[in-house]
Amino acid sequence: MSTLLAKIDKDALINAANLTWQGMLAIFIVMTLIFVAVIILNKVTAITKADIKDKFKRLKQKFSKSANSNTDPVQSKIDTDGDI
């Protein structure tokens, strides 16, 4: 056993071990980035023109509602009652 171990190029073995973990890690990193890209891609490309229009519509409504709710309560009472 010890003769066999002596015959093995230890530097090459260390390099092979390093190559194994670094190689597998690099492949997983690339695949993870592709995975994230695909998820984003699927989400972004699933958005249609109608969705965007809808979103803008809702946003507009939200703004107009909040604009109404943010007006001065006294002023709005004047506006609605018509007199002071």
């Binding site: 093995i8 092979a16 190559l19 597998m24 492949i27």
Partner: protein, 407 residues
């Protein structure tokens, strides 16, 4: 190059091969020195042709390779460079093809990737992208084989070239072996293509060895999400950029594969896509087989290391399957019972497309006739196509750095 300069003169300085003597020159050459090995190469060539025709094992490659092995192992073969009568240089077509098509630029394996890319539909993978990780896990065999080869006394370059057989990807094996200047290129190529053809025999054994019947019977629901055309078009571009930034050495491989896929998905180059899938792929395959036969010269091929590389290849393919299965089992620990992955799908993460997916489908049906895993296995299988080229690039990036002591 074969030395054509036989001892053609007698002791009086007169030519031995006067007149029609040249007719027996080749026979005499076969009887000298180690040239009997050429006859062994004819037998190996004949076996490859037999396997291609009778057993239909990768016939498009094994048949040209088998014929090429005979062609270049004939004494004074005009298919490789010769020096006639010690003065006239006669270039050989196979050697020329090898020099410029593979050795100088790797153009042949790279062009083949355009055809392969044009054939692949990444749609199922895009609708279920988590299967991408199996394309990474199933590359484990490459690195396990490299360690084994080093333990068997191979240097790192030769070990890495042997390990890349486990990528189950012929063009990647040719490219990596050639760039790492392995002395066993012929053996690596022959073994890579032979084992790819043997996937239906090797994988079931390996999968059964590491899975239980209960695990093989796990059913997976198939609910494909709609994938937009924009996704399919942007995917090859994004993969190229990511792979290019992380592993630039892989970019020639990944880039050609993705370029082929972009031709397919863009929708405006159907004629070119068709040409890449059929004409280009067939033409390159035809030339590639007979060209790589140049490396099957008797002296380089008939040695004990060729047998060892055959063993490494088998080990690599088994470890690929084991790596994929074990990764699926690991993921299953964290998944709810209803979303468990059939571990066999992990084994389909190799590049042998679509053989590996079919193997998984068959095994699934054998365990339970209502267990259809084909679409999941196909997704893992196409991710293996990406994984294998990325692995090739990673090996090409890391090995030279390790050899020069940069790491």
């Amino acid at each position: 190059m074969l030395d054509a300069s036989l001892n053609t003169t007698n002791k009086n300085g007169e030519s031995k091969f006067m007149g029609l003597d040249f007719l027996i020159r080749s026979f005499q050459n076969l009887a000298t020195g180690d040239n009997w090995k050429m006859i062994v190469m004819w037998i190996i060539g004949a076996i490859l042709i037999f396997l291609a025709i009778k057993k239909e094992l990768e016939p498009s490659l094994l048949l040209p390779m088998g014929f090429g092995a005979i062609l270049i192992n004939l004494p004074f073969s005009g298919a490789i460079d010769q020096i006639l009568s010690d003065t006239i240089e006669a270039p050989g077509v196979i050697e020329w093809l090898y020099k410029y098509g593979i050795d100088a630029s790797e153009v042949m394996p790279l062009l083949l990737f355009i055809g392969i890319g044009a054939m692949i539909d990444f749609g199922p993978l895009l609708s279920n992208p988590k299967l991408l990780f199996f394309g990474a896990a199933a590359q484990f065999g490459i690195f396990a084989t490299i360690v084994l080869a080093v333990l068997c006394g191979f240097n790192l370059s030769d070990a890495a070239s042997s390990g890349i057989i486990a990528a189950a990807d012929g063009p990647t094996s040719i490219l990596v072996g050639n760039l790492l200047k392995t002395q066993y290129l012929a053996a690596v190529i022959v073994v890579a293509y032979s084992y790819m053809a043997l996937v239906p025999i090797i994988q079931p054994m390996a999968i059964k060895a590491v899975t239980t019947k209960k695990e093989r019977a796990i059913k997976m629901a198939y609910n494909p999400k709609k994938v937009s055309r924009a996704s399919k078009i942007l995917f090859p571009i994004i993969v190229t950029i990511i792979a290019g930034l992380i592993a630039p050495a892989s970019i020639a491989l990944v880039g050609m594969l993705m370029f082929g896929n972009l031709l397919r998905e863009c929708g405006v180059l159907n004629t070119l896509s068709d040409a890449a899938q059929k004409m280009l792929a067939n033409l390159i395959t035809l030339l590639l087989g007979i060209t790589v036969a140049f490396s099957m010269k008797a002296d380089a091929f008939i040695r004990i290391e060729t047998l060892m590389i055959m063993g490494f290849g088998l080990f690599g393919f088994v470890m690929d399957s084991v790596g994929g299965v074990m990764f699926a089992k690991l993921i299953n620990i964290f998944l709810p019972k209803s979303k468990k992955i059939n571990p066999m799908v992990g084994a389909a993460g190799i590049s042998a497309f679509p053989m590996s997916a079919r193997v998984v489908q068959k095994l699934g049906l054998k365990t339970d006739p209502s267990n259809h895993l084909l679409m999941h296995a196909l997704s893992a299988n196409v991710s293996g196509q990406i994984g294998s080229v990325v692995a090739g690039g990673v090996v090409l990036a890391l090995v030279p750095m390790m050899l020069t002591g940069v790491i």
